[in-house]
Amino acid sequence: MLPYPKNEIPRASLPARIIGIGNAGVQLADRLVMNSPGLAEIVAMNSDAQSLASAVAPRKSNLGPRTTRGLGAGGDPEVGYEAAQESLEEIRFSVEASSTVILLVGLGGGTGSGAAPVVAEAAKEAGAFVLALVTTPFSFEGRRRAAQAAEAEAALQRHAHAVIRFENDRMADLSSPREGISETFHASDRLLTECVASFLEMLNGEGPMPVTLGNLLSVMREGSPSALFGRGEGQGDNRAHEAVERALKSPLLDRGRMLDDANAVVVHVGGPPSLSFSETAAIMRETSKHVPDDAHLFLSVSVTKSASSPVTVTVFGNHQGGAPTPSAQSVKTARPAPEPKAAAEFVKATKKDPPSAPAPEQKEDSARPTPPGRLFADEPPAPVAAPAPTKKTAPAKVRQETLQFEPAARGRFEKSEPTIVEGEDLDVPTFLRARPKH
């Protein structure tokens, strides 16, 4: 991996910032504050003063106090856009001097759909890597919202470096039908926060094999817009194994099967200093089995300082097929806006990075579902669906195994004539009997 100057691609040197925009975004941001404190600077932005007041995010921005009078955008993206324009200075202040800006947006409403593209643009102008995690409305919320969400997503595509979309229509399938509604929302929030956390870990983690933005982008840009995400943790003797298994079990990966037609996959392994090479190798072997031979496979390893932290495996890939998969999530790649300098810098950096493969602009072509001629067209690849996020990756079930303690464990010889020599039943495993005498 070629090193590149830090000033060209701001990475790790500056803090990451997470901005929740709109009601859904603020809620997610709150969840992040509570789940992983100290992860990044978290900013809540909303045009609804009441929602901001109850938010726990350390920094809050009230968008368009004059436009909306603190009453919210009322589901109208135009109002949201106006509000954002009014508070542009404040937005710029929020995004400056950060390496990575992650936007959390629930599309389809007013503030999120209207203001998010403005925030993305400002962040990109400030030189940050902009990643937008968006949720699309449920289909039962009506076409109007779906159309607004699609429009907003298209706008985000132009300004953010990458957009990851969670189609929340799938959420109901992913959690058990009898589960309480708050449980369901909790689970989906967890998935989103895990996703954010793992991206930050990948980008900021210190370790022998960092993932580069180039790697990440090549995964998000190559092939079709739909992406795959899975994350698992493991602790104890079998931690590497458990972690990779849980990651692959993620409902978004369909037990690893979804990786079958991935064409680029990033595997991030995070762990305590005791993480060994053989564990990493085992994880990679396991993952690569599910990935086609010709796919790009990027490995990144980061090591935390805490010895008690679990081994985490994050698998992030994209789909080859043009049609979005039924997966709850898909990624829309960002086209570099014609002007922003950050994008230009970014392109430079990715070009330097050998594994990230050819010029990102070209990849974007293929990444777009629209024909090449419409590369810079405004309309987005019409995503439909509504808010609520998806279910958490396979819940880590820790089950206490009972120790098998039958003195006569004879296995396959259970029903055969016992072989008794010197008073010992030789059909019982030697290691279960007394230590062999010499």
């Binding site: 298994e245 072997r285 089995k289 098998q404 010889f413 055969s416």
Partner: protein
């Protein structure tokens, strides 16, 4: 009895059925014409537990051997084993009538019968009586007493016997296929014929045939069979131990044993893990290599310890100059030689069949050694019959019981 020069040996083992078709040439030359092998079912610890399935397996192996060798098989000789097979050494004595001075062959037969006049369980039958030494008027070391002058003839025999019905079951699955049983020989004796030459017998050697269900052993000292025995523990027990110890299915334990396992401990990198794959290629579990090896080591160590205890009780190690010869499928296990060496404290060889010509892949595979040994045993018997010596006539009784059934 096979009068022609085509010899067929069959071993109905716990894990596989092996059939070897060989052609006997002059000067005890043996050429393998073809082999057949079929995975064995219905056999546990060397004995038949499901006759119809075992019969099918035998049929598969025999027809494969037939088509490979292009020979129609009619008579087969069979290796038998099982925990019921036991052995002891016995001395028989006859007094030569005073009107006759010379010892003749009739006396040799009689002394062999006398040697068998010992108590064996009523359900048991004699399998082999193998001559060890003759004594004429108390004089030791007589090799061939015919023609010698003496008043009293004594002889030491190594007698192997087993439960009649259980032996018959082993033969049934071959007879059901329309084959005639030529000779019956124990696994251990057959294996020794495959792996030892006269020189090694003279020096003294232990042959251990570790199969799937049983481990047979035979001890040669001073050129004769000194001891033999069957320990109903084999490679299947190792797999079973792995399966129970690591909580994995038996088939996977078996595969793990073959692919990854070693009987040596302390040789793997600490913390080295092996990941197990399930049918879908998904990894099911990860296990520590040392753990696997420890389980295997414990079992193999125990097998050798038990055999060593029996051997050393009767045969001092200085009588075993050639050392230990390991054969059978289980001898393919990694590290098994080193474990055996640590127990027996003498050279341990992984036996290969010497003095047989044929495809190298067969000769180098210890899984075939018992079946090849059966053929060698029959060949040796035939050579003795052609030129009937005293030794031959006594050995001629071996297996006679079963060839009539």
């Amino acid at each position: 009895m096979a009068r022609h020069d085509i010899l067929v040996g069959v071993e109905v083992g716990t894990s596989k059925v092996c059939a070897v078709v060989a052609e006997s040439g002059r000067d005890m030359e043996l050429r393998i014409l073809g082999v057949g092998m079929a995975p064995s079912r219905g056999v546990r610890k060397g004995e038949i537990v499901d006759l119809s399935i075992a019969t099918e397996c035998v049929h598969d192996a025999l027809s494969e051997a037939e088509s490979n060798s292009d020979v129609g098989i009619e008579d087969v000789s069979v290796a038998v084993t099982g925990s019921h097979i036991a052995s002891f050494n016995s001395r028989g004595a006859v007094v030569i009538p005073s009107e006759r001075l010379e010892i003749d062959e009739e006396d040799l037969n009689e002394v062999a019968i006398k040697a068998r006049e010992v108590n064996i369980p009523t359900e048991n039958t004699f399998l082999h009586s193998i001559i060890q030494h003759y004594y004429v008027d108390g004089q030791e070391g007589v090799i061939n007493p015919v023609g010698l002058v003496g008043r009293r003839l004594e002889a030491d025999f190594h007698i192997i016997h087993g439960v009649k019905t259980r032996l018959q079951n082993s033969l049934r699955c071959i007879e059901e296929n329309g084959m005639q049983i030529d000779q019956v020989v124990t696994n251990a004796l057959a294996s020794s014929h495959a792996v030892l030459n006269d020189h090694q017998r003279e020096l003294g050697a232990v042959v251990i045939d570790m199969g799937g269900g049983v481990s047979d052993f035979i001890v040669f000292a001073d050129g004769v069979v000194k001891q033999s025995g069957v320990l109903a523990v084999g490679g299947d027990h190792v797999s079973n131990d792995i399966s129970l110890g690591l909580r994995i299915p038996l088939t996977r334990a078996e595969k793990l044993k073959v692919d990854e396992g070693s009987a040596l401990i302390g040789k793997s990198v600490p913390g080295e893990m092996i990941s197990l794959k399930n049918d879908a290629g998904f990894s099911g579990k990860e296990i520590e290599r040392e753990m696997l090896n420890t389980i295997m080591h414990a079992r193999i160590l125990e097998i050798f310890n038990l055999i060593h205890k029996q051997v050393s009780a009767e045969t001092p190690s200085h009588k075993l100059g050639a050392g230990v010869y390991l054969t059978g499928g289980c001898s393919l296990m990694k590290g098994i030689r080193e474990v055996a060496e640590s127990i027996f404290e003498m050279p341990v060889h992984l036996a290969r069949d010497a003095g047989v010509s044929g495809p190298k892949s067969i000769l180098n595979n210890p899984q075939y050694s018992t079946a090849i040994g059966v053929v060698r045993f029959v060949q040796a018997r035939m050579a003795e019959e052609e030129e009937p010596t005293l030794l031959g006539s006594i050995l001629g009784r071996i297996g006679g019981i079963f060839s009539r059934r």
